[in-house]
Amino acid sequence: MVDTSKKENKVNKRLIESLSPNERKIIPLLKEKSIVSISKKSNLDKVSVLRSLEYLQNKDIVKLSSNKKKIVEIGINGALYKKKGLPERRLLNLLGKKRIIKLQDAKKQSGLSNNEFKASIGALKKKALIELKNGKIVFSGKKQDISKKSIEERFLESLPIEYEKLPPEYQLALKSLQNRKDIVCVLEKKSVNIKVTELGERVMNSTIDAGDMIESLTPEIVQNKKLWKGKKFRRYDVTSSVPEIVGGKRHFVNQSIDYARKIWTEMGFQEMNGTMLISSFWNFDALFTAQDHPVRELQDTFYIDKQIPLPADKDLIETVKKTHEKGISGSKGWNYEWEENDAKKLVLRTHTTCLSAQTLYKLSKLPEDKRKGKFFAIGKVFRNETVDWSHGFEFNQTEGIVVDDNVNFRHLLGYLQQFYKKMGFEKVRFVPAYFPYTEPSVEIHAYHPEKKVWLELGGAGMFRPEISVPLLGKNTPILAWGQGFDRIIMDYYKINDLRELYKNDLSQLRKIKAWMKN
């Protein structure tokens, strides 16, 4: 036979060693069954009692269940009336002295407010205790009606009372009083039921004093051998939950931008930077976007009411003008009259592609064989849009160009595929697209494995000769892309509303997970 009693004792011992001082305090009181009374008898506040009870539940000593009860409580005015008497009582008392009284006099003498007066007249009329005649109140009830307590009064005195247990006459009283301001209120109260388990019973019956145990390990204890040598440490429930803390961190959008920056630099790209305010020349004209192209209209682009000088390089301006008007290097051009003033208009950049244009122009100053390289940018771009869940006037774009005599369309697809793979999209597809400055042009779709849909992620292509010849000074193939970036961020953080990216809700920023792709 196995000696079970010993085993049980052992379990109990471990258990007893794990009891905190508060838990120990309330164990003998578990039969109280109400938190309020445990709290009174243990001298612990209700919150501590509840917390200790929860810990005891974790240890299988009690079973807690909560139930909701509707309680009828007295309201602010109700408490007042309980002291001073209901307004109708005060009026009735007045009528006890004089059976007929003028309305104005009654009001004055009763000391009731307008509303109270009206309410009490209504209440008394309803009970057929008074009649109104020629601006006078006439008491029409019996004398004992004055001294008798009304149902409402008795009801008020009975509060608080459980809603479910209201006798029928009180239900009517409740209804009539509920129509008046703050006399009574019905509250939902949660009450906790404590049931002591079998284990709990055993614990209650055993000695729970585990002797002198160490609670928190303090510096004093650590520094004094006598205080800890041979002592027991109270066992902690290491699996119980702890209050949350938050750390400082980068904004999640910036975390993801840093990640994209890392992808590009790892692939050997150099970062471009530039201004957000830029001339239409760099934002549009240098990118072969005709001056009457709809994207240049006020309703799409943010214009500042200022002109900005064009680049000092006259040749560059002439070449761009010619490219638009008649074409260059085998192109027909757009066949219209190019206006220098339109190019001077200041805009908030609508894409980061203007940075690529400026980079190409910088490269054109180098000897021909050095005009190559791989460049990227990530930054805010602006569109004159209204704001809703999928639109905003500012968003992030990631941009890239590869300038090299030996690159081709397949390489463009290669870089894009690689970038999106790093972003977590294993499957991408490429479909034809149109942009004024690239040919061939392509749109990237990435397959979302959870949502099982294709996401449209943005455009890319190879710069037209109408870009490379005027800016770079030679017709070198240039791979180019510029994709919105915010959708990927939204997807990663499971955010469905674009506005949440820049809402700066501190509780969201404190809680949000770190960007963990690598």
Partner: protein, 547 residues
């Protein structure tokens, strides 16, 4: 962006079954399939392909792409008949100088077809036509007008006709002022001394382009068999192409339809429409180099035919309705589409380059990490802000701010560029009053100076917080960056700080910004109940030192 819709039934009868494979083909042709709903197919047409803006145009191109009717489609043009001419008066030169015209005979119209024609017309107006500015198209029932036609400009009060949807005559000016379409497009004629009109042989006004047609002579209905078509505008090439798009789309509606040319009598008369294909050279080498393929000449020819071209020797014959072929690369893209984007094998080239992050970004990230180490949370605000937030709430009168940079016609209340980060951070605090305190936030970002220069700034705020606490943060930052940032008592300082609790932040002899406690007046403006201490510094100087 323009989309076209057509019945699925028609598509399946004339083109093919709309299965998954076909759906994919439509998108891979460069006309993304938007939806198939209620028996209607909707596809998107990119702005470079106005020739696809009708079902007929789409069908022509897509049948070739599917390999069913490849090569250059040919149309028979009939020579102008007697009186088939339009006299162009020199008076139009200053108003709307060009027109090209055609006559189509043998139409069998019903509601559906009339709708298709009107939609093509409207879509061309809105895309190529830039809302009728560049191109306006008029279509008139031939039986109601008498040839020949005159195109001339008249003084507005001498123009009198009944415009569409009206039952009485109006003058040119009245139309611009009182007719709904007139008002919508009035800006296109504003400031002109004379307005253009088409007149028939009996001096009846057919239309006043680009505004409106006559109710009597300019309305096509089910009984119309023959029509006169004109395109007017400023660029004759655009007009010619557009006319070609329309006449070929109409001709494709039925084999019995005939296209008649007209003589357009400028000083040097021309005959339109002209469907002679454009020619452009294509080189196998350029194609293969750009696409990274190894196509033979034969393959290139086949692919060009799938895209509706014809290749003779090295010359590509380009349909006269294509507006988008400016350069050889445009043909090469079409070859790529015919080859199938899905068939390209992505590859990363072996180009060795060194990656490099912009040093400013490196520094900005380091700063952000220093702040995160102090348990501060980074925020990110818009670069656009509102005058109320930037000025009023900061205790400044927005009307007195001459140097704010405003964007034109913003669709939201965010219509100026931010001048500092301070007001953004206070706004963040005010929108988070229900969130647990203390709140310690910072932002690194661009602001816009009144001389249009942009600079990177760093701002941090602690709430509740006092001067000592925020100064500790600044001091820690200065140590971490190894920069001798110091404070000086400030005489002139931003008005949102408390006098006596604000200091000028300096590095060498340059002022970087200010640090201090925010005045309760400003806190009240933002409905903040907690004190706040804040600094904002310019990072440009620090970049200079660290780069």
């Amino acid at each position: 962006m323009a989309n076209i819709k057509f019945p699925k039934k028609l598509f399946e009868k004339e083109i093919g079954k709309l299965d998954e494979k076909m759906k994919k083909k439509i998108s891979m042709f460069g006309t993304p399939l938007e939806s198939v709903e209620e028996g209607e197919i909707e596809v998107e047409i990119f702005p470079d392909r106005p020739d696809l803006l009708s079902y007929q145009g789409f069908k022509r191109a897509f049948l070739a792409f599917l390999g069913k009717k490849t090569g250059l489609k040919k149309y028979r043009l009939h020579k102008p008949g007697k009186n088939y001419y339009v006299k162009v008066d020199s008076s139009v030169k200053k108003v709307r100088p060009y027109t090209v015209c055609a006559i189509i005979k043998g139409l069998k119209l019903n509601d559906e077809k009339i709708k298709e024609i009107i939609e093509l017309q409207e879509k061309l107006h809105n895309t190529v036509g830039r809302k009728r500015k560049k191109l306006a198209i008029g279509i008139y029932p031939l039986e109601k007008i008498k040839l020949p036609i005159t195109y001339k400009a008249l003084e507005p009060d001498k123009i009198k006709f009944t415009p569409l949807e009206m039952n009485r005559e109006m003058s040119g000016l009245q139309i611009l002022q009182r007719h709904s379409t007139g008002r919508e497009y009035a800006h296109l004629l504003s400031g002109k001394r004379k307005f253009p009109v088409f007149l028939d042989a009996e001096k009846n006004v057919l239309s006043m382009p680009p505004i409106i047609n006559s109710q009597l002579t300019g309305k096509v209905d089910e009984n119309t068999k023959d029509v006169f078509i004109e395109c007017s505008g400023f660029n004759i090439d655009v007009l010619k192409k557009s006319l070609n798009i329309i006449v070929t789309a109409l001709a494709d509606m039925s084999p019995s339809i005939k296209i008649y040319q007209m003589k357009v009598k400028y000083k040097k008369p021309i005959v339109t429409p002209d469907l002679t294909p454009d020619k452009r050279k294509i080189s196998k080498e350029n194609t293969n180099k750009l696409l990274g393929l190894n196509l033979s000449k034969k393959q290139i020819q086949k692919m060009l035919e799938k895209m509706g071209y014809e290749l003779k020797k090295n010359n590509v014959k380009i349909p006269a309705w294509r507006t988008d072929i400016l350069h050889e690369v445009d043909l090469i893209e079409d070859i790529a589409i015919a080859y199938g984007y899905e068939n390209f094998e992505p590859e990363i080239p072996k180009i060795s380059t060194l990656g490099k992050e912009n040093p400013r970004e490196t520094i900005k990230r380091k700063i952000a990490h220093i702040f995160a180490g102090l348990k501060m949370t980074e925020v990110s605000n818009y670069h656009l802000t509102t005058p109320r937030d930037q000025f009023s709430k900061m205790g400044l009168n927005p009307k007195k701010q001459k140097n704010s940079i405003e964007v034109k016609e913003s669709k939201t209340e965010y219509n100026i560029l931010r001048k500092d980060l301070t007001h953004c951070l206070l706004k963040n605090l005010s929108e988070n009053v229900d969130v647990e305190y203390p709140q310690k936030i910072f932002e690194v970002g661009k602001i816009f100076n009144s001389n249009l220069m942009e600079s990177e700034k760093l701002a941090a705020v602690i709430s509740p917080g006092d001067f000592t606490e925020i100064k500790q943060v600044l001091k820690y930052l200065s140590k971490m960056l190894n920069q001798e940032i110091y404070l000086e008592e400030a005489k002139d300082f931003p008005s949102w700080f408390i006098n006596g609790r604000v200091a000028r932040i300096k590095l060498d002899k340059e002022t970087l910004g200010f640090i201090g406690e925010i005045h309760p007046k400003i806190l009240n403006n933002w409905k903040l109940k907690m004190p706040a201490a804040l600094f904002e510094i310019d990072l440009e100087e620090i970049f200079k030192k660290l780069e």
